[in-house]
C-alpha cells in the first residue's frame, strides 16, 4: 500500500474529468498512475461509492478484454482505498489524431479494425461504456489498445451493446463531424465481419430503438 505514496508523480499526462493520469515508474518501467480524486460537488457517500466501484471494475474489465483478444494496458497495481490504479504505459497515438490525418482508404481500414475490436468485446459480453476515439491508442506496430473502462460493465444484453455503439456514433458525430458517416459505415462493417450478419442486424435494430427513445431526435420521426 505504501508503494503508491512513494511513487513520484513525475509528470501529469492528462487531467480528465473523472481521473488524473500521471506518468510514473513501476520497477524501472514507464507506467501510468490513474487517480480518481474525490469530487466535492457530490455527496461524500455517493462519491466514495462511485470511485470505489470504478477502481475495482476497470482493471477487471481490462483483464477480460485481453482474453477477448483486445489489447489493453497491463495492470501493475490497484489501491482501492486511494482509488488508484498503476498500469502499463502505452506508446502510441490516439485514434482521434490519426483519423483526422489519414486519407480515406487507410481510414476505412482503421475503422474496420476498430469495429472488429468492439465486436470481440461484445462477443465476450464486455461493454466498454465510453467508446470514443480518444480512448483508443494505436501503437507503432499497428495494435489498437482500448483504454478507460471506468464506465464499462459485464453484460450480455443487446440493449447494452446497442447503447455502446450508439455512444460511439455520437462521439464520432461530435469529434469527426466532417466524415463521421464514412467512419461509422466502416466500423459497422468490421463489426459485422466478426459477429455475423444475423446478430449484428439485431444490434443495429436495437440502436435504432435506443435512438427513438431520445427527446426531439430525427430518428423519432414516424
Amino acid at each position: 500500500m505504501d508503494t503508491v505514496d512513494k511513487t513520484p508523480h513525475t509528470h501529469l499526462l492528462k487531467k480528465g474529468a473523472e481521473a488524473s493520469l500521471f506518468l510514473t515508474q513501476w520497477h524501472g518501467k514507464d507506467a501510468v498512475l490513474k487517480i480518481r480524486l474525490p469530487k466535492s460537488y457530490r455527496p461524500p457517500t455517493l462519491d466514495q461509492q462511485i470511485r470505489r466501484y470504478r477502481t475495482i471494475h476497470e482493471p477487471q474489465l481490462m483483464h477480460h478484454a485481453k482474453t477477448a483478444g483486445v489489447p489493453t494496458p497491463i495492470i501493475y497495481m490497484i489501491n482501492v482505498p486511494q482509488s488508484t490504479i498503476i498500469m502499463q504505459h502505452i506508446n502510441g497515438q490516439q485514434i482521434k489524431t490519426i483519423l483526422n490525418k489519414l486519407d480515406p482508404p487507410p481510414r476505412h481500414v482503421l475503422c474496420q479494425k476498430i469495429g472488429q475490436s468492439i465486436a470481440h468485446l461484445h462477443n465476450h459480453n464486455l461493454i466498454h461504456g465510453d467508446l470514443t476515439t480518444s480512448n483508443m491508442i494505436q501503437t507503432p506496430n499497428g495494435k489498437i489498445y482500448f483504454i478507460d473502462f471506468g464506465l464499462g460493465e459485464k453484460n450480455n444484453e443487446l440493449e447494452a451493446q446497442g447503447v455502446d455503439l450508439h455512444l460511439f456514433k455520437r462521439a464520432l458525430q461530435s469529434t469527426h463531424f466532417n466524415f463521421w458517416e464514412d467512419c461509422l459505415t466502416n466500423v459497422l462493417c468490421g463489426y459485422t465481419q466478426i459477429r455475423g450478419i444475423e446478430l449484428s442486424k439485431k444490434v443495429y435494430e436495437k440502436i435504432h430503438q435506443i435512438e427513438r427513445r431520445g427527446r426531439y431526435v430525427e430518428e423519432r420521426k414516424p
Binding site: 480528465g16 457530490r42 464506465l151 455520437r170 463531424f177 431520445g214
Partner: protein, 353 residues
C-alpha cells in the same frame, strides 16, 4: 445573402410557445431587452395536455402581445422583424405561436425569422451573463444537453438518452402529490423539501459515456416513495421509513451528480474556459452550486442565466431572431412550418465567429 445594416432597423419581436408558456419579448438590435411578457398554462391535474396548452396560448396571445408592446413603449409598425420559436417542442403549442407570428409578419409586412428554441436558451444566457464562448448545460422540462460551439454550429457533447431532467423532477413531484402553483413550479417545491434532508438513499446512477439516463432513477425514486405509503407490504419489504424530503434530496443529488459528471467530461474534452447553465432547471440553487465547483476546479468562469430568462420566454426568441436577421437569415412563410425535432446541432449559427 445581404447583410443588413444595424441602423436600418431597430426592434425584433419574438414569440415563444413551445410548451406550457406563451411569451412575447421585444429586444433592440444591440441586445437591450425592452419587454418580456408571458402567461403560463397551469394544468388542473397531470402534465401538459398539448391541445389544452395550445388553446390557452390562443386565448392569451392578444393580451400578452399588447402588454409586450406597451411595456416596450413602441408601436407595432416600428418593429423590424418577427421571430418565433420554430422548434423543438410540442406540435399544437408551436403551431399556435407560428400562426400568430405569420399573421403578424404578413399584416405588418415584416420579415419572419424562425428560431431554434434550444439555441435561443443558449443565446439569452450569453447575452444576460456576458459569457462569450461557453460550454452550456441546457436543462429544462424537455431538454437536457451539454453543448458548445465548434466550427459553425453548437455541437452536442452529452445528452439524456431518455427523459429530460426537468421532466424527471416534475413527474416525481406529481407522483408525490406536489402541485405546481403560479410562480412556484414543482421543481422549486422539490428543491425546498430537499433542503430539509441530508439522508442519501441509494438510487441508480446511470452515466453512459457522455450521456446519461434518468428514467430508471425516476422509477426507483417513485417506487421508494410508494413503498412508504403502502402499509399492506410485509415488514421485510418496507425497509426504512424515508420521508418525502429524504427522497427529494436523494433524487436531486443523484440526478444532479449525473448531469454534473457529464458536464465535467465535456468540459475536460472541449477545454472551454466558461460554463453556462441555462434552461428551467437553472433556477435550482443546488445545481448551480455543484456546477460552480466543477467550473472552478477546471479554472473556468461559471455563469447562470437570471431566473426570468431561465424558463421559456419571448425575449430569448427575439434576441436570437435579431442575431439571425442581422446575418441575413429569414424564414419565408412557405418554409415556416414548425420543426418538432429540430436538434441544436442542425442549426447554422453564422453570428458566432
Amino acid at each position: 445573402m445581404v447583410k443588413i445594416k444595424q441602423t436600418d432597423c431597430k426592434y425584433c419581436l419574438g414569440i415563444e410557445s413551445s410548451a406550457d408558456d406563451f411569451g412575447v419579448g421585444i429586444t433592440d438590435f444591440r441586445g437591450a431587452i425592452l419587454a418580456n411578457q408571458s402567461e403560463g398554462y397551469l394544468p388542473k391535474e397531470g402534465g401538459i395536455h398539448p391541445r389544452e396548452a395550445a388553446r390557452h396560448h390562443g386565448d392569451v396571445a392578444p393580451s400578452v402581445l399588447q402588454q409586450a408592446l406597451n411595456t416596450a413603449g413602441i408601436k407595432a409598425h416600428e418593429l423590424s422583424c418577427i421571430a418565433f420559436s420554430q422548434g423543438p417542442g410540442l406540435g399544437p403549442s408551436l403551431r399556435t405561436g407560428a400562426t400568430i407570428a405569420r399573421a403578424l409578419a404578413s399584416y405588418l409586412d415584416l420579415p419572419l425569422v424562425g428560431v431554434n428554441h434550444s439555441v435561443a436558451h443558449i443565446e439569452i444566457g450569453k447575452l444576460t451573463t456576458g459569457a462569450h464562448d461557453p460550454l452550456t448545460l441546457y436543462a429544462s422540462g424537455g431538454n437536457t444537453l451539454v453543448t458548445a460551439y465548434t466550427t459553425g454550429r453548437y455541437r452536442i457533447f452529452g445528452e439524456t438518452l431518455d427523459i429530460a431532467l426537468g421532466n424527471c423532477l416534475d413527474v416525481f413531484g406529481r407522483e408525490a402529490g406536489l402541485k405546481a402553483k403560479k410562480g412556484l413550479p414543482i421543481g422549486a417545491a422539490i428543491e425546498q423539501l430537499a433542503q430539509k434532508s441530508q439522508r442519501l438513499i441509494p438510487l441508480p446512477y446511470v452515466v453512459k459515456g457522455m450521456d446519461l439516463s434518468l428514467s430508471g432513477l425516476l422509477t426507483a425514486a417513485t417506487t421508494t416513495l410508494q413503498q412508504q405509503h403502502n402499509s399492506n407490504l410485509p415488514d421485510q419489504i418496507c425497509l426504512d421509513d424515508y420521508s418525502l424530503a429524504d427522497v427529494c434530496y436523494s433524487l436531486q443529488e443523484h440526478a444532479f451528480s449525473m448531469v454534473c459528471e457529464v458536464t465535467e467530461r465535456a468540459l475536460a474534452h472541449t477545454e472551454k474556459k466558461e460554463v453556462l447553465l441555462t434552461g428551467g432547471v437553472a433556477a435550482n440553487k443546488r445545481l448551480q452550486t455543484m456546477l460552480s465547483i466543477i467550473a472552478s476546479e477546471h479554472n473556468a468562469q461559471f455563469s447562470v442565466v437570471p431566473k426570468q430568462y431561465a424558463t421559456d420566454n419571448g425575449a430569448m426568441i427575439a434576441w436570437t431572431g435579431t442575431l439571425a436577421y442581422k446575418h441575413g437569415l429569414t424564414t419565408p412563410i412557405p418554409q415556416s412550418m414548425v420543426k418538432l425535432r429540430w436538434r441544436v446541432d442542425k442549426v447554422d449559427v453564422p453570428w458566432i465567429q
